[in-house]
Amino acid sequence: MSHVARKLLTIVTESALEKILPEDFKKLGARGFTITEARGQGSRGMRSGTWDENGNIRIEILCDSVTADAIAHHLQTRYYDDYAMVVFISDVMVLRPDKF
């Protein structure tokens, strides 16, 4: 099997952005994403997810390095100041590189 290197971009942010971000991802070249419900704590305090608007989501995007940088950059300029948000990138190996 040929594993090929790709990037995994992970974003933890406010649930309110779930309706907005997917469109941005698409424009910037992502071919898919995965979302899980999350809660947590950071510089903007506790986000316990117990009540509608104070939950987090955790988004993962498998993509090439260029797309990962583009999305991270976009998030930084557009959302970092106003929303609870954390972004990190890691290296992964994928099986069907054409998909990402």
Binding site: A16, K19, I20, T50, W51, D52, E53, Y79, D81, D82
Partner: protein, 316 residues
Amino acid sequence: MTSLDPVLLFFILGLTAGLMRADVRLPSAIYELISMLLLLTIGLKGGVELARQPVGSLAFQALAVIAMGAVLPLLAFPVLRHVGRLKRADAASVAAHYGSVSVATYAVATAYFMTREIPFEAHMPFLLAVLEIPAIVVGILLAKGLNRDIRIGQVAHEVFLGKGIVLLIGGLLIGWIAGYEGLASIKPLFFDLFKGVLALFLLEMGLITASQFSSLRQYGPFLLVFGIVMPLVSSVIGMLIGFNLGLSLGGTAMLAILAASASYIAVPAAMRISVPEANPTLSLAASLGVTFPFNVLVGIPLYHTMTEQLFAIARS
């Protein structure tokens, strides 16, 4: 003041539990179900009554109420900006919350009026739905002016097709089409359980209110005072509008209550998307931490008494 409605005892239980950090939260799925049931029931009740009554000058009343929803945030904004020294976006956002309405407060008021057998206009749920919107528009304009890019489509969708409005209006239409007999078969769930469901809802609201107290402390006494004075002022405006629209005593008091109530669902969601630079905890601390408990515990009977006196004076 007569004895406390038992549903308010659930609110106090929730508040107390919350302050002692006891974990009695409803799962979020249940909280959502309960909100949906309340919205549908309020709508259905209104619709059923509408089917029995002539609608009257509905359009005119809607216009008057839209104007009220637009004016209230315009009154609040300068106070928040100059007395409270809030940033522009924050002042606009808080103002929008107070121009809009709280369905929970309306539900408690309904229970209050039911117990006392005070009738009010059947189309109130319609006015409730209408009142959710104008303050949001004004709030966005106050924060952004006309020239900035806001996700207008997104926000419009969020506002007009939010859960609150769709279920209120949907319930209203179903009730109106089916009529009282038509709804007999679904009465056990939507009507008979109403106050029990409201009790559970208020238990949770008590917990949420308690969780706002800590952020409230952070913002100093201004928010506390604003959260009490603003509804007092708004209630008088609502009452006078209701009176001049020729509403019944119950309807006039209800409009006072709606004016006094502050949103904590529709407006925060809309503001988070359209005015993201506004701090959401600020608005919620005021709306949920001060105004909601004030209204349900003190405000509702107060606005009712106030309206009785207005009608007594007018009659004499």
